[in-house]
């Protein structure tokens, strides 16, 4: 029933705390090698879901399956946990040296000294902190501490990595550089990762799939562009915002712009990018201009696409027009324009937007 690549499956999982249902996940299948983001507001159940999947929580109902085998809740749970690793928002380092911290998971597993030393060194280098080896974990910065926490998690070569808002407590520069490094490491190792965050941009940047959570439930799960462009309900829509999100590959670049191919269409955006790099493009609906087809006049908009109106939604003073241009695209128009252009569902229009209006998230080479 599950694909051959599924590594972790939750079935009919319920967790109650003090009588109240705090987690209710009828089905969740995590594929080997994927990066799944859990997004949602505080208290949505992201941490509870992570902890439940890592069997750090007692299930009230249902079961967790790792590579097809049910995780039983007996005293041998630690053997399952030894296949995983988890990093929390706080680094939670031990009051000892950086070396001992990174070595701790390996020492718990009773690994031989030379192996421990080798793995610690490798992982400190991976996160760019080999110079901290003999430093006290009490005397390093917040960003460094979180790097040590990640190195400690990866040193045990986990089959699944759980990240519970690991960047939330960091200042902007340390956060950016750590996300860059982690992104690279995750892509290199192809490690299955489940990543809880309330930051949509982090999720867009790192994940293959996004699960939006609210009140202990997964309300929508799918590839980022699907969740962003086709929110399943009002909650998801309000949480992800109104931007059109497109994912594509860079096919040409130069002169300060690049062209990405999205579902066979070419979109030009401002910014530097490598050839065949994967990018996520965000286009705000207020930056999309609609005109009656065919538009002949020359404008500075580099991206012009004919499309068909699939849906019109009223958002107070604005109307949200959803178009199908070979890729989904949303535009805002005023009520006045709606009448002037006599926009109706099914009508053919031409949408245009400037290369500078695109918000680019680079995802690195894949």
């Amino acid at each position: 029933m599950n694909g051959p690549r599924s590594i972790l499956v939750a079935k009919d999982v319920q967790v109650r705390k003090g009588g109240t249902l705090v987690l209710d996940v009828p089905s969740l299948v995590i594929e080997e090698g994927e990066i799944l983001s859990l997004i949602g507001p505080n208290g949505a159940g992201k941490s509870t879901l992570l902890q439940t999947l890592a069997s750090l929580n007692r299930l009230s109902a249902g079961g967790i399956f790792f590579r097809g085998e049910k995780i039983s809740s007996d005293h041998r749970l630690f053997q399952y946990r030894r296949k995983l690793a988890m990093v929390f928002q706080e680094p939670l380092l031990f009051d000892t040296t950086v070396f001992e911290n990174v070595a701790s998971g390996l020492k718990i597993r009773g690994r031989e000294k030379p192996e421990v030393a080798k793995r610690v060194q490798e992982n400190l280098e991976r996160f760019g902190i080999p110079h901290l080896l003999n430093r006290s974990a009490r005397k390093i910065s917040g960003g460094e501490a979180q790097r040590v926490a990640l190195a400690r998690a990866l040193a045990t070569q986990p089959e699944v990595l759980f990240l519970d808002e690991p960047f939330a407590a960091l200042d902007h520069p340390s956060r950016e550089s750590l996300i860059d490094d982690l992104e690279q490491i995750l892509h290199q190792t192809k490690m299955t990762t489940i990543f809880a965050t309330h930051d949509l941009l982090e999720a867009l940047r790192l994940s293959d799939r996004i699960a939006v959570m609210n009140r202990g439930r997964i309300v929508q799960i799918g590839p980022p562009e699907e969740v962003m462009n086709h929110p399943a309900d009002e909650f998801v829509a309000s949480f992800v915002g109104v931007e059109t999100i497109l994912r594509g590959k860079v096919i040409r670049q130069g002169g300060g712009t690049f062209v990405a191919s999205i579902s066979g269409r070419e979109i030009e955006a401002l910014g530097g990018a490598q050839l065949s790099e994967e990018v996520v493009l965000g286009i705000r609906p207020e930056n999309v201009i609609l005109s009656p087809s065919p538009a002949k006049e020359i404008s500075s908009a580099r991206n012009v696409f004919p499309g068909r109106i699939v849906k019109i939604t009223s958002l107070g003073p604005l109307q949200k027009i959803q178009l199908d241009c070979g890729f989904p695209l949303a535009a805002f128009v005023t009520h006045h324009s709606l009448e002037n252009l006599s926009l109706t569902e099914g009508k053919e229009m031409v949408a245009s937007f400037k290369a500078t209006a695109i918000h680019v998230v680079r995802r690195g080479e894949k």
Partner: protein, 232 residues
């Protein structure tokens, strides 16, 4: 004033010449209180940690009981230990009343709740997610408890110091169950009481200075522990 000055001068003379009687009393004090503290450490840390890490009905009551125990009046302990060890008492057959062993028992009873209460607080003060982090690193339950105790080692050491400080300076129970027998069960506090009542201020001051120095070193270590930075 002369009385005090003379007393202090003689006291330093006794200290620097390592007077055998003063030295003997000091060593016996350290031995009795050290053993009592060691016992309280074994019982106090294990029960304190267990209570800190487990949920059970009536837990709040147990915690309040331990906290009350931290202020157990030594004379009351002395009274009950005496009754229990009295010739006709439940443990009279042991025949240890008026021995250093009885003093160790009484002092261990005084120190145990102190060590237990501080251990409980120390383990509870660790970050909430630290337990989960240790388990997520693949630890067994026993490994987790050991790592937590290691993490709380400084506040635990503070507990040990507080327990030791409590019993080395305690006089009521020691005099009641030890009897202040010269060269056998006479310790710093009981000797100070006796020498003072006899008017031998020089010896009393010398013993007092040793007690003060011990108190100073204990607090020096405690302050050092409290002023340390927390790990991230």
């Amino acid at each position: 004033m002369d009385l005090i000055l003379e007393g202090i001068l003689k006291a330093f003379h006794l200290l620097f010449t390592l007077d055998p009687e003063v030295l003997g009393i000091t060593l016996l004090s350290l031995q009795i209180s050290g053993t009592a503290t060691f016992i309280s450490l074994l019982i106090g840390i294990s029960i304190g940690t267990t209570v800190a890490l487990t949920e059970f009905p009536g837990r709040k009551f147990v915690v309040s009981l331990i906290n009350t125990g931290m202020g157990l009046p030594p004379v009351v302990v002395g009274l009950f230990v005496t009754i229990f060890l009295w010739r006709n008492g439940p443990f009279g057959f042991l025949e240890i009343l008026y021995t250093p062993t009885a003093m160790i028992v009484a002092q261990a009873i005084i120190a145990t709740p102190i060590v237990m209460g501080i251990s409980l607080a120390a383990i509870q003060a660790l970050p909430k997610n630290l337990r989960l982090q240790i388990l997520a690193l693949g630890a067994t339950r026993l490994q987790m408890v050991w790592i937590l105790v290691k993490e709380a080692r400084l506040p635990l050491l503070a507990g040990v110091m507080a327990g030791f400080g409590g019993v080395i300076s305690e006089v009521g129970a020691s005099i009641m169950v030890g009897g202040n027998i010269k060269g056998y069960s006479r310790v710093l506090t009981t000797a100070t009481v006796m020498e003072t009542s006899r008017g031998n201020f020089d010896i009393a001051i010398a013993l007092g200075i040793i007690l003060l120095l011990l108190a100073y070193f204990i607090n020096l270590i405690l302050t050092h522990i409290q002023q340390r930075e927390r790990p991230r």
